[in-house]
């Protein structure tokens, strides 16, 4: 009886008695959910356009952030370093397309998936070789990212919002909006959607697959850079971030592999859910639930909706 009370009633009593803590937890959940969503967005971009499940997205986030900090530490002004990091991401997209995707056209999905593991390993080794394996501190002030927190006295207590998180939310929304416009209004965006629909049909109307793939991987690289800046600013820039990037996978399940709104909504649900469960139910089982909660939610969810929240319905034909 006591156990049932602890599981079913006590957490809600806690929520009701300290609404400021609840608001704070919700905010934290939203912010981390947004970062998951950004990583998932990179996955979705590449999966939509080339059908490649890009495992390297997580490491691309770390690599982009490392490149930025590494170049800055070499004495280059911040915004030139940012431009150079963008150039490096473009180069990466170009090399990946030339050296990995092009020779593997038409292979089964699992082979391409495996190849992105190869990219992951290469980037880990390369990044550590060039920039060193020590955790680095993300540059924030030279990029004019705000510091400090805004404190609201409300709900019978106080709620702290980090200015950096607000900036991240604003920039992420701008980026998503920009991508949406790019996809729906520009010539290249339309070509991208055509490729996502059908490779053969796109080829037959004269769209160059190679070009599209470079663009998509570059777009994913840009998303990775933005994610890397904000994530790196919250903790350190190190390869430990890679494991956190795996959290983007359950987000993908919730949202569906091919849906950009799905990635965002899924990210927010996972971020909110795991923070709330860890804060209110975690102590009952000894904490650390955020290591697996996202995956179990995704697993349960899959049983009822295998194609995700916004994914296209899977129709199988024999």
């Amino acid at each position: 009886m006591h156990l049932l009370y602890q599981i079913l009633i006590d957490p809600f009593v806690q929520m009701g008695s300290a609404p400021d803590l609840l608001a704070q937890t919700l905010w934290e959940g939203l912010v981390s959910g947004m970062l998951y969503a950004l990583i998932a967005l990179g996955f979705v971009l590449i999966f939509k356009a080339s059908g490649v499940f890009n495992f390297a997205q997580g490491i691309m986030v770390v690599f982009a952030a490392l490149t930025l900090v590494g170049i800055y530490e070499a004495g280059v002004p911040a915004f030139i370093a940012l431009a150079l990091a963008i150039a490096v991401m473009f180069l990466l997209a170009f090399v990946v397309e030339r050296a990995v995707l092009r020779p593997l056209v038409g292979q089964p999905d699992i082979i391409l998936f495996m190849a992105t593991f190869g990219i992951t390993y290469f980037l880990i080794g390369f990044g550590e070789l060039v920039f060193g394996g020590d955790p680095k501190v993300m540059i924030t002030e030279p990029l004019f990212l705000p510091k400090g927190a805004i404190t609201y006295h409300a709900l019978g207590g106080m709620v702290q919002l980090q200015k950096l998180d607000i900036a991240a939310a604003v920039i992420a929304s701008l980026m998503v909006a920009g991508l949406a416009v790019f996809f729906s209004k520009t010539r290249i965006g339309r070509a991208l959607r055509a490729v996502a629909d059908s490779h053969e049909a796109a080829l037959s109307v004269g769209i160059s697959l190679e070009q599209i793939w470079v663009i998509v991987w570059f777009a994913a690289g840009l998303v990775a850079l933005v994610t890397g800046v904000f994530w790196g600013a919250r903790s350190d820039v190190s390869f430990a971030l890679e494991v956190i990037a795996l959290k983007a996978l359950p987000v993908l399940i919730l949202g569906g592999f091919t849906s950009i709104p799905g990635a965002i909504v899924g990210g927010l649900i996972i971020g909110l859910g795991e923070k709330i469960v860890e804060f209110y139910w975690g102590p009952l089982v000894g904490g650390g639930t955020d290591a697996w909660f996202a995956y179990v939610i995704a697993l349960v969810f899959l049983l009822f909706r295998p194609q995700g929240l916004f994914g296209e319905k899977i129709i199988e034909r024999v």
Partner: protein, 358 residues
Amino acid sequence: MLYREAGQFKTTYEKDSAIFPILQDRIGIAVILAIAFVGVPATRSDFIINAVMTPFLIFSLAAIGLNILTGYTGLLSLGTAAFMGVGAYACYKLTSIFPNVNIIVWVIASGFFAAAVGVLFGLPSLRIKGFYLAIATLAAQFFLEWCFIRIPWLYNYNVSGAIEVPQRELFGVIITGPRATAETRYFIVLMIVVAMTWLASNLVHGRIGRMWMAVRDMDIAAELMGIRLLPTKLLAFAVSSFYCGVSGALMVFLWYGGAEASVFNINQSFTILFMIIIGGLGSMVGSFMGAALIFILPIALRYVPEALGLPLQSSTVEHLTFMVVGVLIIVILIAEPAGMARLWQIAKQKLRVWPFPY
């Protein structure tokens, strides 16, 4: 000239469907077994026996397990290491509760615990497939890893949070614990791996293996042919997890001698997935080849700069190893997406017509 089946007539169906239908293959496997049983221990090198061969065999067993699930049944799994962990922790608990029972019995029995857990996490496989299933198995990976850390009962409330292998004897010979010799442990691992490989090989060549492959090639068609999908897929999960569980138990009891939960982390799962994809999906010999390449290659690479006389720091060598492994994975996939097992088949075909190719 040497490798040719001319003159070897098969007079019964049994001979025709044998796994090694050609005499040269049977001689080859006998030579390999002789090297494994006699040649390797004869080196008397602790490094070769304990740091190369024993882990290679253990990884091969895990690779066979994953290959049954992914290669033969077509269900992608990223939770291999967690199932290995279930085997290791089950074996540890069993031998601490019943210390007098033969440890080999518990190593095998721990496989059944892993199989039960595997079936539980395999249940969603009926509804989902492909990458979605892969991510679902990640739930098993992270949840079980969390259990290994947060449930102190599993590691007997040790302060360190690690499991330490107690000393156990078999017929008066110490086989586990710090005082067991490398040779003894190697022989135990070798015998278990050989027996289980033989079993797996018979399994996949028989009715059950054909059912698995039918499900892999097209599950709807398999269902129409009268194969019940749920039992078939769950059986694949059970057998695969059984193999992984045994290999996990072997890994802790006969190689590491003690382990923390972090041994069974996600990277271990990925390593074993690499092994079967590089080695060859749906191939027994591929499991061994992949394990050899992925496990032994980094060890070998560490000695290359030294042999060339290049003065590199050990951390630099490690980073270079990562890069080389990454590039090699891509190169092998481009050269032969079906894995090294296919390369071996092509080589055999070339050998048959050598020296007069037509």
